[in-house]
């Protein structure tokens, strides 16, 4: 279990507030996602939990070990995958893995079952220097190294940044299997669509959690009336929607536009307005929000 209370951290003599009072807890065997843009404080939070950075104030406890007082113990029970690739570029794939296994008094063989899924995909290249691996393979090696000592808690800082949609899906499938082995997983991402793969999520911005719940709970708490508008000439359609007073916000969402509207507006009224502006082929429908809609609503306040 992870327990965090009132965590604060600032840099540059207090000029930059990275964390502004973060409190949350993660249950054993849970996948907890911290979701928010770069610069929101995700990495500072994770580095504190990995005992690599001291908080200004507040408490963080990893499976009953305080990250400041019991940092040695914390380092034994966690696996940490930093946002930036930080393995030894001049060691081979296998040498890196052996190195991390040895640090923790174990061997690749002893915990091979934990990494088998992931490591098998890079094993054909085990003699290649880590620095010469592609981005996707580096990521798999980094995860293997974070897992090789059978950690109780896994801390993954933006493991899928810059990763294509198919590989991202595979990565999350893998996290699902690690969860089944009882590993507690704390993971951060800037991709809103990854929220649904977590048991619970926190939306982070400017060093604060602006919401924390199950993905479903976050969506149910969405307070606005949300419609989707579909048509051709999207850029002009977006401007036309923004000019209409009963439309509060309008944002492109792929091939559709999501708008929030004032209470009482009828679909027919909007359709008529758009028809007057020569948008004859639009489809308008009330929709359920995504986590991305929720994030945008919460950050626009």
């Amino acid at each position: 279990m992870i327990e965090v209370k009132d965590l604060y951290k600032s840099y540059a003599k207090g000029k930059v507030n990275a964390l502004n009072g973060i409190t949350f807890s993660v249950e054993d065997g849970e996948i907890f996602g911290v979701i928010g843009p770069d610069g929101a404080g995700k990495s500072s939070l994770f580095r504190i939990l990995a005992s690599l950075l001291l908080p200004d104030s507040g408490i963080a406890v990893m499976n009953e070990h305080d990250v400041v007082i019991d940092y040695r113990k914390v380092r034994q029970i966690i696996g940490y995958m930093p946002g930036r690739f930080s393995l030894y570029q001049d060691l081979s794939v296998e040498e890196n893995l052996t190195f991390f296994a040895t640090l923790f008094n174990t061997t690749i063989e002893e915990n091979y079952h934990l990494i088998k899924d992931i490591y098998q995909q890079i094993e054909p290249f085990k003699n290649r220097r880590a620095g010469a691996l592609s981005g996707g393979m580096k990521q798999k090696l980094a995860l293997s190294c974070a897992l090789i000592h059978k950690p109780e808690i896994l801390i993954l800082d933006e493991p899928t940044t810059g990763v294509d949609p198919v590989s991202r899906k595979e990565f999350w499938d893998m996290l699902g299997r690690l969860k089944e082995q009882g590993i507690t997983i704390l993971v951060s991402t800037a991709y809103m669509d990854e929220a649904s793969r977590c048991d619970r999520i926190a939306l982070i911005r400017d060093g604060k959690f602006i919401a924390s719940d199950t993905p479903q709970g976050i969506i149910e708490n969405y307070a606005d009336i949300l419609w989707s508008v579909e048509g051709t000439r999207m850029s002009a359609l977006l401007s036309a929607l923004r000019d209409y007073s009963a439309v509060k916000t309008s944002f492109a969402f792929g091939d559709k536009i999501h708008i929030t509207v004032t209470e009482g507006l009828q679909v027919g009224e909007l359709r008529q307005y758009l028809a007057e502006k020569k948008f004859d082929d639009v489809r308008i429908a009330p929709i359920k929000p995504t986590v991305e809609d929720c994030f945008m609503a919460l950050t626009s306040e």
Binding site: V16, G36, P37, D38, G39, A40, Q121, S134, G135, G136, M137, E158, T161, G162, V163, D164, P165, V166, S167, R168, K169, A190, Y191, M192, R205, M234, S235, F251, A252, F253, G254, D255, E292, F295, M296, T299, S300
Partner: protein, 246 residues
């Protein structure tokens, strides 16, 4: 008919016996927003390096911004804009210093730089940040500034390599509105992204698989061809065919 800003045929790059880019042929028209998609390791970066004149193709030919990619690659570099998520501005320089530096690199005179800098800061609503060190700007602002700097010398085409990675959702959309403005002014935009909703914002999209371009069309047409509800699904269907690991 609009002029073609990129026109390549049979473009190929081999590293030893590995074919990173395998005979790609396509063109991009003036003012077009062209999405260049593909899984990690599909060959996007290598292809882009050849288009930007920093890597010589093993085979094939073509022009970018009117210049031959083999014989005139130095001229290409001077006539394109480039921005990536990983590198765009110097963090330890102030906002105005970054603009001054890139303006100078592209051969603009001090006078032109001064006038254009004022206009740019005004347009971005950035006047008060003129003397701010870039590292102190929020990421979204940085990306907006980086994009403006990449098109500061009014290139025919700008290459954007994952420009919105890690940017918050509202800012990501503002960034795309800037892309649309640039395209309206006639600047061609060549962009890579891993956000499939952004693929929808492109006029046309190509998808690379194992070094080849396996699909190229408008997003709507691609969805129709692949009988898919979204570009995400189109991408998945294509990426599944990939033989080489990344």
């Amino acid at each position: 008919m609009k002029a073609k800003v990129i026109e390549v045929s049979g473009l190929t790059k081999k590293f030893g016996n590995f074919t990173a880019v395998d005979h790609i042929t396509f063109d991009v028209k003036e003012g077009e927003i062209f999405g260049f998609l593909g899984a990690n390791g599909a060959g996007k970066t290598t292809a882009m390096q050849m288009l930007c004149g920093i890597s010589m193709p093993t085979a094939g030919a073509g022009t970018v911004a009117g210049y031959d990619i083999i014989k005139e690659n130095e001229r290409i570099k001077r006539n394109i804009g480039y921005m990536s998520q990983k590198f765009s501005l110097y963090e330890d320089l102030k906002v105005w210093e970054n603009i001054r530096l890139f303006g100078g690199i592209y051969g603009l005179t001090d006078k032109v730089i001064a006038t254009k800098t004022d206009a740019l800061l005004e347009r971005l609503n950035f006047r008060e940040e003129r003397n701010t060190m870039v590292k102190y700007l929020p990421l979204g602002w940085k990306q907006k500034l980086a994009f403006s700097v990449a098109i500061f010398h009014e290139p025919k085409i700008v290459f954007l390599d994952e420009p919105t990675g890690g940017v918050d959702p509202a800012m990501r959309r503002q960034f795309w509105e800037m892309i649309y403005e640039a395209a309206d002014q006639g600047i061609t935009v060549f962009v890579t992204t891993h956000y499939m909703d952004e693929a929808e914002y492109c006029n046309r999209v190509s998808i690379m698989v194992d070094g080849r371009i396996d699909a190229l069309d408008t997003p709507a047409e691609l969805r129709r061809q692949f009988n898919a509800d979204s570009m995400d699904e189109v991408f998945r269907q294509l990426a599944r065919k990939a033989k080489r690991g990344d």
